[in-house]
């Protein structure tokens, strides 16, 4: 099976305190730790496991700046066979549809049976997978937490509300967005990273992608981010200050009063 996985380099929200720049144009990016989008890591692991079971190849592709090479390499260290970066200043400011359009141009140049994305990325949209499927006119399933290959079809589980799972049969080729927890992504050690450190990652720009500025980039975006902001949120929590010991005393007092200690 020929599998393509779309991966994105994002600020790691578990590792960073994200703050907004004073003028609201962006988040503060100095000292921010980046990593591969959490969901994409599960998608790459799933692709590798399917390949190892039924044969084929795994390609990872990312739309981003030159620094996205590092996450493409990381996913290759995990076991992806090929990695490609799609990068051009004309891509900057693309909305979800723009990114999906750029990815489509890459998909059109190959022949893939299965295309995986993450269910969600840093801007919390969960849109690129569904848009890519629609652009390619392929069937789509989102928030997938189980895949079983059955000939030219897949049995896929979608995670729905309440921890329930919706089982579907979907024909190949198709696009799936992958939910965390579908597998346990393998660990990539220093040695693995070193092996791929000098790999050349091919990079395609807008001409190689055969795109003109129509719907890509900021000019083509139907949805534009005007500004980042931090809202006035009223009171919020009453914060307990002091030394750890004082905090612990106070917490116990409060818990007792609220019936939290039996």
């Amino acid at each position: 099976m020929e599998i393509l996985v779309c991966v994105k380099r994002v600020p790691d929200t578990a590792e960073n305190e994200i703050a907004v720049k004073a003028d609201g144009t962006d988040i503060v990016r100095d000292d921010v730790v980046y990593s591969v989008n959490e969901w994409d890591n599960y998608a790459v692991e799933e692709a590798i496991q399917i390949r190892d079971n039924v044969g084929g190849t795994v390609t990872v592709v990312s739309v981003g700046d030159a620094e996205s090479e590092e996450i493409i390499r990381r996913e290759m260290a995990m076991g992806a066979d090929t990695g490609v970066l799609l990068s051009d200043s004309a891509f900057e400011g693309s909305d979800g549809l723009g990114v999906a359009t750029i990815l489509k141009s890459f998909v059109d140049k190959g022949k893939y049976d299965l295309i995986l994305t993450g269910a969600l990325a840093d801007d919390g949209a969960g849109q690129v997978g569904g848009m890519l499927a629609a652009l390619l006119d392929l069937p789509y399933a989102s928030v997938v937490n189980k895949i079983e290959v059955k000939g030219d079809k897949l049995l896929v589980g979608r995670e729905i509300e309440g921890g329930n799972q919706e089982m579907n049969e979907i024909s190949l080729p198709c696009v799936l967005s992958i939910q965390t927890g579908i597998n346990e992504p393998r660990y990539v050690g220093i040695r693995g990273i070193r092996k791929v450190a000098s790999l050349e990652i091919p990079c395609d720009g807008k001409d190689a992608c055969g795109l003109d500025a129509g719907i890509i980039g900021a000019a083509g975006a139907k949805v534009k981010r005007l500004t980042y902001f931090v809202p006035e949120l009223g009171e919020g929590a009453e914060m307990i200050e002091g030394s750890t010991e004082e905090q612990v005393e106070k917490v116990i007092e409060i818990l007792k009063a609220k019936g939290g200690i039996k």
Binding site: L138, V223, R225, F229
Partner: protein
């Protein structure tokens, strides 16, 4: 010209989802003068039941019924909606597993703008709509502007817009099945829903929950949480990453894709406060949050907060409580 706004009515066998009453509030925020129409899909019986209920809140209800629509399969409903909706229409959906499935592709098929997971609107003006949303796991907010020239598909966060409980709209139900049909051949077939497994503790019945998130850092540290729970007489629950890592069973996960809990006291320990997590906490419990990041969104919803390291504070809490109890 006032916008034409449609609210997709999610329902389970005719019983309306909470979002059904929230989307009308969202629609009015987009445009107070808009004509708002509820759209209901289902098989004959469930579509009738849901449409009748929706007519309490919406003056106009469009019903699409077919035996193939007994279960809401987005791959079937998307092309039907694409055909049914008038040009330039705005469609509202809930941000849930169905809305995420249907929405992005529908926006592409209709050449419409897509706004994911809106939490507020500044109103439509001059063919543009400004919406508020969250990014970076809720740590920052963003204003986005959508060009409405081709209409829009918008998912709205559950709970972000107040439910319109007024009722009594006396809406008219119109059967639009012929305009939307026929049901297309599906490349994705719904088979069945597999219900979540029941675990060894039922956190939905707990009065006090010690709930841990990624801040617990390793499986070995789980003991610290269980010790604290034991000392204060609580049960241990968790956020999703703990279940993803297989450190605790799925039945202990709080959130939209886990359990809905209604405790008296909820301790959120090393949990950032994603809306999918908070969506599983009902009944307005007293919430105490401990997190090392003072900007963590959990502090916006907690009653009391401590900025600190849970791995340091939890053992001290356990020790003090144990001492106190003698």
């Amino acid at each position: 010209m006032a916008a034409q706004i449609f609210a997709y009515i999610a329902h389970k066998s005719g019983k309306l989802d909470d979002s059904a009453l929230e989307l009308t509030t969202a629609a009015k925020k987009i445009d107070a003068d808009a004509s708002i129409t509820a759209v209901v899909f289902g098989d004959a019986a469930t579509a009738d039941a849901a449409a009748a209920k929706a007519a309490n809140t919406y003056k106009a209800v469009w019903k699409v019924a077919d035996s193939a629509l007994a279960y809401p399969n987005a791959e079937l409903i998307r092309p039907m909606l694409a055909k049914l909706l008038p040009e330039g229409a705005i469609l509202l959906l809930p941000t849930d597993s169905f809305g995420m499935d249907l929405g992005p592709g529908l926006a592409v098929k209709r050449n419409a703008a897509y706004i994911a997971d809106a939490i507020d609107f500044e109103g439509a003006k001059d063919g543009k709509l400004v919406a508020h949303r969250q990014e970076y796991a809720g740590q920052v907010y963003a204003k986005v502007e959508a060009n409405l020239s081709g209409g829009a598909v918008i998912t709205c966060r559950p709970g972000a817009f107040a439910a319109d409980e007024a009722g009594g709209a006396g809406g008219a139900v119109e059967d639009k099945s012929a305009d939307a049909g026929p049901v297309p051949a599906a490349k994705r077939k719904f088979i069945e829903v597999v219900e979540a497994e029941v675990g060894d503790v039922d956190i939905t019945k707990s009065d006090v929950l010690v709930s841990i998130g990624r801040g617990i850092e390793s499986q070995d540290n789980l003991e610290i949480a269980f010790d604290l729970a034991k000392a204060i007489g609580a049960d241990v629950s968790c956020s999703r990453p703990i279940v993803d890592a297989k450190w605790l069973e799925k039945s202990r996960q709080v959130g939209t894709s886990g359990q809905t809990v209604k405790p008296k006291v909820y301790m959120a320990l090393g949990i950032s406060g994603a809306f999918q997590h908070l969506g599983g906490i009902k009944g307005n419990p007293f919430m105490l949050a401990i997190n090392k990041n003072p900007k963590a969104p959990i502090f916006q919803v907690a009653d009391v907060g401590v900025v600190g390291d849970i791995l340091e504070i939890m053992p001290e809490l356990t020790e003090k409580v144990t001492e106190m109890k003698g």
